[in-house]
Symmetry: C2
Subunit: 231 residues, 2 copies
């Protein structure tokens, strides 16, 4: 497999996908067109506008972008595509759409043949075993929480360390992930912004500018460096 | 109906339920025993320990606490109870448990006859139309998101204003609620910590030390003062 799952599309003060440019060039080497999956986007901008924003970035790499929402026959569009990019937004909406349209397993099967896949945020969540470690609000009810399992663990994108100054009684991200581990025996990778997961063949590493925080049932959370293998 | 739905059980630096003591006295006037619903609690403390913590507070009010998890016949326990308190934790786990044990509608029907109900955090979420505006992580998959509709709107407990200094690309609470409104035409009450909703008969008001932020489809969010009627 050839997979890149990023915590975020955009770093604070940066442009869309800019910090990932070199990695994306390598991921999509030899590819002149990708299929964009815009379904996480709940509003603010339309699927057309979202696709246009993505196309501007990929134009610099001489890669054409088609969007899945433009196709009448979506399973066929997935089958015919050379590579994929799923953008961020709301994971519940993304998973509901992919499951209801019966597209999730088509996408998984194609990626498993070696076609490159890029995910950011919600698009990275669906690369995990299930979406039970998303940060998103459950604005719609999906028919299930199962995802593509492109990696043998779950992802928590936009992982955020607790703010010791916050006088607020809501749970911290770490508490939420610990709650997940009371109900599930699945490793969770807390991906800080600036980090990503890279799978090439069977080798899976964490990459980026920050340490990555790993949560396992019955263990203290621990940190691993960029370049470390996982899974 | 006689309902109190609070944003949080505990204020920063305060003790459990302390800031709500006078309100709770009024809510449970003439009641000497309540039924506690502990199912939101995913771990950290057991249902027994959670119940013990609740009992310590209610002892000061001369109110005995029985917990629903102690009963073999849970629907009967709900039917026989004089009043209810659902504590916080994880809303997905709470709703999954109540729906799978077929208890949600029993609880609703009993509260609708006038039996007092207290909810905090996840326990307040289930007083809304559905749980689609919870902040919790979807650590388990409930058979549905529908709740008791004790008030004709949804609640976002622990409502938190955006932090202008945060250099993080995750969505703000306000953005998440706006995303909810793209998919649902339901009013959302953003309950800051220190605030609660009080329903006495058909009159519903927001109460507490903070302004309350209201979100409606197609409108700018707006703030209302303590004592304002809503719904």
């Amino acid at each position: 497999m050839n997979v890149l799952l990023a915590s975020t599309s955009t770093l604070y003060g940066g442009n869309y996908l800019e910090y990932l440019k070199d990695e994306i060039k390598t991921l999509f080497q030899g590819i002149d067109e990708i299929l964009f999956i815009p379904f996480a986007r709940p509003g603010g901008i339309s699927h057309e506008e979202y696709t246009a924003k993505v196309a501007v970035f990929f134009e610099e790499l001489n890669i054409k972008v088609r969007s899945l929402h433009e196709f009448e026959e979506m399973p066929e569009a997935i089958q015919n595509a050379k590579a994929y990019f799923t953008g961020g937004g709301n994971t519940f909406l993304l998973v509901k759409t992919l499951l209801e349209k019966n597209l999730m397993h088509f996408l998984k099967e194609n990626i498993e043949t070696g076609k490159p896949y890029l995910g950011t945020s919600a698009g990275s969540n669906i690369g995990g075993i299930n979406m039970k470690t998303t940060n998103d609000m459950p604005i719609v009810y999906p028919p299930g929480f199962e995802c593509m399992e492109l990696v043998p663990f779950n992802i928590n994108p936009h992982y955020l360390d607790p703010d010791p100054l916050l006088k607020h009684n809501g749970e911290t991200r770490e508490t939420r992930i610990q709650e997940f581990l009371t109900q599930n025996d699945i490793i969770v990778v807390g991906l800080r912004e600036g980090n990503w997961i890279r799978r090439i063949g069977d080798k899976i590493t964490v990459e980026g500018s920050q340490m990555t925080r790993i949560f396992e049932k019955g263990k203290e959370p621990y940190e691993i460096e960029a370049g470390s293998q996982i899974g």
